[in-house]
């Protein structure tokens, strides 16, 4: 399994917030068309880490990054890579559904429009429909695209956010606890969706829910106190963890 192509990787990544070192020497490879789950107790640096992968952490005042992040062997913090272009290639879904306070259609059409990916009219209509279908939302909202996105249910809003991210055809999708604010049925839908999307892109997902990690991911990384304790195939990590800390965490003895 590990001979698959590496889509993204970090090498010795360190993040500082002022004097505080939030991540220490994190090196993880992410393989193409696989789902990698990042697990660990609150405050362990998972979210900080995933936000470094599309340079969202740049926006946090007083943060400083050392180390390297590669996308297809290209260093994303190098000057040749533009953060705006990077975020088109590496999409993101957030913990709380955050649709724009606009119509369903506008939410999906926004990113393709600013990147000039589709012309107004049928081309854009087509792209909106495709993206909503990919996110499994077309059946539910296809006939009310002009409705405000905020009138959808929480689960639908989150899938709309996924459709919005998919509309620019990213190569990697980052998901920061995408189901933590949803009920079990909506969570189930998101998980099914992750399974389907895997064939199109590389997915990195932060989750608090270990069952979820074991259900959806191919590989899992366990974070603790800003460090990566263990990275392995999900099945191996959950059945035969090589570190004691990992075992204690996944069996629920702490965290």
């Amino acid at each position: 399994m590990n001979d698959a192509q590496v889509k993204m990787a970090t090498r010795e990544l360190n993040v500082y917030y002022g004097e505080h070192r939030a991540l220490q020497d994190v090196s993880i490879p992410f393989y193409a068309h696989q789902v990698t789950a990042l697990i660990g107790p609150s405050g362990c640096g998972k979210s900080t880490y995933i936000r470094c992968l599309n340079r969202m952490n740049d926006l946090v005042p007083n943060s400083r990054i050392e180390g390297e992040v590669y996308l297809d062997r290209e260093e994303i913090y190098s000057t040749s890579m533009d953060a705006v272009e990077l975020r088109r290639r590496v999409g993101m879904v957030f913990q709380k559904p955050n649709p724009f306070p606009k119509s369903v259609y506008e939410n999906v059409a926004y990113a393709p429009r600013i990147h000039g990916l589709a012309r107004k009219g049928t081309e854009m209509d087509q792209l909106v429909e495709t993206s909503l279908r990919k996110a499994g939302l077309w059946e539910e909202v296809g006939d009310r695209l002009s409705l405000p996105a905020t009138s959808l249910s929480g689960g639908q809003q989150q899938r709309l956010c996924i459709a919005r991210a998919l509309a620019v055809e990213p190569e990697v999708l980052l998901m920061d606890e995408p189901a933590s604010a949803l009920d079990p049925i909506a969570t189930q839908k998101i998980e099914d969706l992750i399974y389907e999307l895997k064939s199109r892109l590389t997915i990195i997902i932060v989750t608090h829910n270990m069952q979820q990690a074991s259900r959806v991911s191919d590989r899992t990384a366990f974070f603790y106190m800003g460090e990566v304790v263990e990275v392995d195939d999900t099945q191996t990590l959950f059945t035969r963890p090589s570190k004691k800390q990992t075992e204690e965490y996944i069996t629920g003895r702490f965290g």
């Binding site: 926006l59 705006v84 088109r88 993101m92 957030f94 955050n98 724009f100 306070p101 991210a165």
Partner: protein
Amino acid sequence: MDPNSLKRTRMRYRSERRFKLYCAMALVLAGVFLVIFFADIISKGYPAFWQAQIKVDVSYTQDVKELPFLAVGEDVSELISRSWFRQLPRKLNEHPELIGTTRSKWVLADGAVDQYLKDKPNGLDKEQKNLVDRLRNQDRTKLAFNTYFFTQGDSKLPESSGIFSAAVGTVYVMIVTMAFSLPTGVLTAIYLEEFARDNWLTRAIEVNINNLAAIPSILYGLLGLAIFINYVGIPRSSALAGGLTLGLMSLPVIIISSRAALRAVPDSIREAAFGVGASRWQVVSHHVLPMSLPGILTGSIIALAQAMGETAPLLLVGMMAFIPEAPSGFTDAATVMPAQIYTWSSAALRPYAERTAAAILVLLAVLILLNLTAVFLRKRYERTW
């Protein structure tokens, strides 16, 4: 229940009732003052909207062009406003066909007659009073709607003075204030809130802006006098000088309220936009600004309403002046509504007192209208996320 705890509970309820009573009393007190204030202003100002007129036979002769007083009988001529006589020669020049005719007309009465008809202290002597009484019995006096109040500028004759020039001046001043402070304030707020890094410089600027909002407004008048009039050379008393001065004054308020409106947009929206690859300016112009616009407009309208009622800084740039003619440009000498109110309030003649109250009513109506607009905007575009 144990009696001690029962007692404590009862005491807690009692102190709650007491506190509620204090609050209600404070509300009633504030309400009473408001009612007294409005009742006083309305009762004083309402008569000014009605103005005495007298019906007289006007004979247009050739001599009237030189001596307008000859147009009416000698006895009633002192009951008629001098402003009416003044416009006679011009009228005859424009309409020469009137010469040689005599017409019965309602003409504007002198201010003292007006006050006498309204049962207020006046300067009429006994003979004049008798004359007015006689006219009244013949139905040759009336209180008609006071159009002069809305169409005339200030005048040394109270009966023909109005708020027109002050209202036009206020419009000009507000245009300047808005054109200067709205873009400057909103752009400053956007820069501080969305672009600037959080360092000692921006923090120092922020503290200074907050302090500027609390500075006595007369100091802005001094600043305006020093910069706009003495240094830049903008004409004294002009709407431009006054508007820029008031603009300086409302700038901090607009900046602060705009920043608050921008900050009220949740970060999750910014993250969403950044997350799909929007540039910083796109995040601001496509998402943050449209969402915060109602808040920005509300704050700006309130700042402008405040500027509209401001008098002290205008004192120093020379706008507290007798301006009979409405300004026709931004550099003409102008006055504003609150300045007009102040000028009238210190005038000696009695009819000015009711005009003062009437002008206050007009100003209050405009301000209430502006504030209602702000409330309407907030309600109409308020969104929850």
